[in-house]
């Protein structure tokens, strides 16, 4: 065993509370941090504090920004050791997953020093301002605009709205795509702006999905004033930054799907419980789904091995996002099919809580192939960037 692995193992042994060594029992146990952070237990708070103190919430980020400063192979070892003891993620965070990497690539020294340490420690919770009602798949058609205050050129004034902002109602800051140059071409007039959700003029309305309440919100900006220093990269560089961030998001979605699948009750166990394993057609569908999940997991692993030297997710993130979400839809569909009449409940009475959850999960899964870039957009990206097929209509 390497020295580093031994060190990690000893530290985890001493510092990971026992109650943090099992999978979360539902989203209520997740830790998102932020100014209004809620911890479901003292252990959860302790675990975050200890990990953040070592910078291990962001293992590969530089130590100067509060990160762990680990080399890729060390990060792999840390990850393996965390898995070995079934350790929970100390912090769920769009800051860690999405904003951090792009700040490291595109942010100013001041921006990194200001935001990264707070992300590492979970002090500031971020949300993402990308899609708009008229700009879904065609994200670059966004119309939320930021103009310089004529009387104060160190301030942008933001007007417009964003949709599908996850947890906007609970977030402290937003990273947001805005149009700063109406005269530039569609892709070149966009900038990447950071601002505090407590700024006057920001308002948030939650969105209800077919599965019920959701973390998604619609967010409105009415003359929101943002310091010019909060623009990441150059004005007009927003689209480049957005694309980099989307790759991180896609890879993340695929990984999250894979993890969630692994934690579900196995399909065959569920089929046995509902006494339908004897139905050869259902049994074959169960096996197809199991085999596809196996092959998908192997593919994620292969891709991780191949990409390890590269450090950045490549175009294969589209393939992963596409396949992972479509597979999840298929699995959720199969679960309600297995449950039969028990898989069509909406509320009590008449249905058990886990049966109702089954149905909500199934309905929720339909959004998987839309959020984070539709399956159609992923297919476009694969066809054009991976397969080199000519640019027809995008």
């Amino acid at each position: 065993m390497s020295d580093f692995r031994g060190e990690v193992r000893a530290w985890l042994e001493a510092n990971c509370p026992a109650s943090m060594r099992s999978p979360c029992r539902g989203e209520a146990e997740w830790v998102w941090g932020g100014r209004r952070a809620r911890f479901f237990s003292d252990d959860a708070r302790l675990w975050l504090e200890r990990m953040a103190a070592r910078g291990w919430t962001a293992p590969t980020w530089p130590r100067q920004y509060g990160g762990g400063g680990l080399a890729p192979d060390e990060a792999t070892i840390l990850d393996e050791e965390l898995r070995r003891i079934d350790a929970r993620a100390p912090l769920k965070s769009f800051g860690l997953w999405m904003l951090g990497p792009v700040l490291l690539e595109f942010g100013s020294e001041e921006q990194r020093a200001e935001h990264l340490p707070k992300i590492v420690r979970g002090e500031i919770r971020w949300c993402q301002g990308y899609s708009e009602t008229g700009a879904g798949s065609d994200l670059a058609a966004l119309e939320t605009r930021a103009v310089r205050d004529p009387s104060d050129d160190r301030t942008w004034i933001v007007d417009g709205h964003k949709i599908w902002t996850s947890h906007a109602d609970k977030a402290d800051w937003m990273f947001c795509l805005v149009r700063t140059d109406a005269s530039a071409t569609k892709h070149e007039g966009i900038s990447f702006l950071l601002f505090d959700m407590q700024s006057p003029g920001v308002s948030v309305v939650p969105i209800r999905l077919i599965s019920g309440a959701s973390p998604f919100c619609q967010t409105f900006f009415d003359g929101v004033r943002v310091p010019a220093a909060n623009l990441v990269g150059r004005p007009g560089q927003g689209w480049t930054i957005a694309k980099a961030l989307l790759k991180h998001e896609r890879a993340l979605i695929a990984q999250a799907r894979d993890t969630a699948t692994a934690e579900e009750e196995p399909l065959e166990a569920m089929a046995r419980r509902y006494d339908v394993l004897g139905d050869p057609l259902l049994r074959d569908r169960v096996t197809q789904a199991n085999l596809d999940s196996l092959c998908f997991t192997l593919t994620l692993r292969r891709s991780a091995e191949t990409a390890q030297s590269r450090g950045q997710p490549g175009p294969e993130s589209s393939m992963q996002k596409l396949y992972g979400t479509e597979l999840n839809k298929r699995r959720k569909e199969l679960r309600v099919a297995i449950a039969g009449y028990r898989g069509i409940g909406w509320e009590e009475p008449g249905f058990a809580p886990e049966e109702l959850q089954l149905v909500r999960d199934w309905l929720r899964s339909r959004a998987n192939s839309i959020e984070g870039g539709t399956s159609e957009i992923q297919l476009n990206i694969i066809a054009r960037r991976v397969l080199g097929l000519g640019d027809g209509r995008s």
Partner: protein
């Protein structure tokens, strides 16, 4: 020309379409759901529709019905399917078909006129497990003085929470028998089930319910007759829902713009829409054939019931999945009706047996 609507049917369709859009729009389903309405449909609407003849479309005029056939019924329920109406026409149909197919003169006298008038609701209570089955029920009918005692549990009893009477299937020894049970019968427990598509259903517990010999209607053959006809009628409703949803999706494809063009100009979506169109055309053909076959008293009604329902289940589900995906983000919000169709597709697929069940039964009926 069995496939072409005749003038009477054309007129019925226009009336039904106008009526449903005014009195049972999708908005009504949403309102009932959000208000957690304890009935789950508009009683006034149902009585109104009964006055127009729907509660007894297939019941001869001498019993108070409209004396029309299944082809006519299909025309109307296709329109109800377009607005996802939760009116209790299907449960009512099962009640009247059970009475017409297996009841004595006295029983018909006792129930039919009130059912056709929409003031009395009778439904079938048959399913027991996690999915539809036509095997011998587990609910038992034990002979006792002057009648039977029923014990067992029934699930997915359509409109069971407000029905006035039930046609309950039970095993009498090794054969299936159907019995009329009043909603107020001693030993009968009724619990509403909150189903995802807001269609109304209930769970019954029969804890020693006594019925008279005269309450017995018939056996497995009658049950098959009722279920086959209900299956065909439900397929017609599913056709209506599918067509409506497809039309809404086409409208979205024509009007929603991304990348400077309507998204319906993207070839990948065009091809998927065209494939869906083909599947729906086939559904339309088989539903019509099945309805006409009932009216013609043909022997292939059971097989056509399987054919229609298998295709209706698969095609509605496909259309619903495509509709949600093609609508994009808005398609998964509760705000848009598309999600309501998506939910209805799942529930109707399970009712009376899903597509694999129907195919299995079709194969058995064909002797393989």
């Amino acid at each position: 020309m069995a496939f072409v609507l005749d003038d009477v049917e054309e007129a019925m369709r226009d009336t039904a379409r106008k009526w449903t859009r005014e009195h049972a729009p999708v908005m009504q389903l949403r309102a009932l759901r959000d208000a957690r309405d304890t009935v789950g449909f508009s009683r006034a609407g149902w009585r109104e529709l009964a006055r127009l003849g729907l509660a007894g479309v297939t019941v001869p005029e001498r019993w108070g019905g409209a004396g029309l056939g299944f082809a006519a019924l299909g025309v109307v329920v296709e329109e109800l399917g377009r607005t996802l109406a939760t009116l209790p026409w299907l449960s009512s149909l099962m009640g009247t078909e059970a009475l017409l197919g297996g009841a004595s003169e006295a029983q018909r006298q006792a129930h039919l006129a009130a059912v056709c008038a929409g003031v009395r609701l009778m439904t079938l209570a048959h399913d027991e497990g996690h999915r539809h089955s036509r095997a011998l029920p587990s609910t038992t009918a034990t002979r006792s003085a002057g009648g039977f005692v029923l014990r067992g549990t029934k699930v997915m009893v359509l409109d069971g929470h407000v029905a006035d009477a039930f046609v309950v299937s039970a095993r009498d020894g090794e054969v299936t028998a159907l019995f009329v049970v009043a909603a107020g019968a001693r030993g009968l427990g009724i619990e509403r089930s909150q189903v995802v598509d807001s269609r109304n259903a209930a769970r019954l517990t029969l804890d020693g319910v006594t019925v008279r010999e005269a309450d017995r209607l018939g056996g497995a053959e009658l049950l098959d007759r009722v279920l086959d006809r209900a299956t065909i009628a439900l397929s017609a409703e599913m056709l209506g829902s599918t067509v409506e949803l497809f039309e809404r999706t086409l409208l979205h494809l024509r009007t929603r713009r991304q990348f400077g063009v309507p998204i319906g100009s993207f070839q990948a979506l065009q091809h998927r829409a065209a494939q869906l169109f083909c599947e729906i055309e086939l559904l339309r053909s088989v539903v019509r054939e099945a309805l006409v076959a009932v009216d013609e008293g043909r022997s292939d009604v059971p097989r056509l019931a399987c054919a229609a329902k298998a295709r209706a289940s698969d095609t509605f589900a496909l259309c619903a999945a495509e509709a949600v995906q093609m609508h994009g983000g808005i398609g998964v919000t509760d705000e848009l009706d598309v999600g309501l169709f998506f939910k209805r597709a799942r529930v109707t697929a399970m009712l009376f047996g899903d597509a694999p069940y129907q195919r299995d039964r079709f194969a058995r009926l064909e002797g393989y």
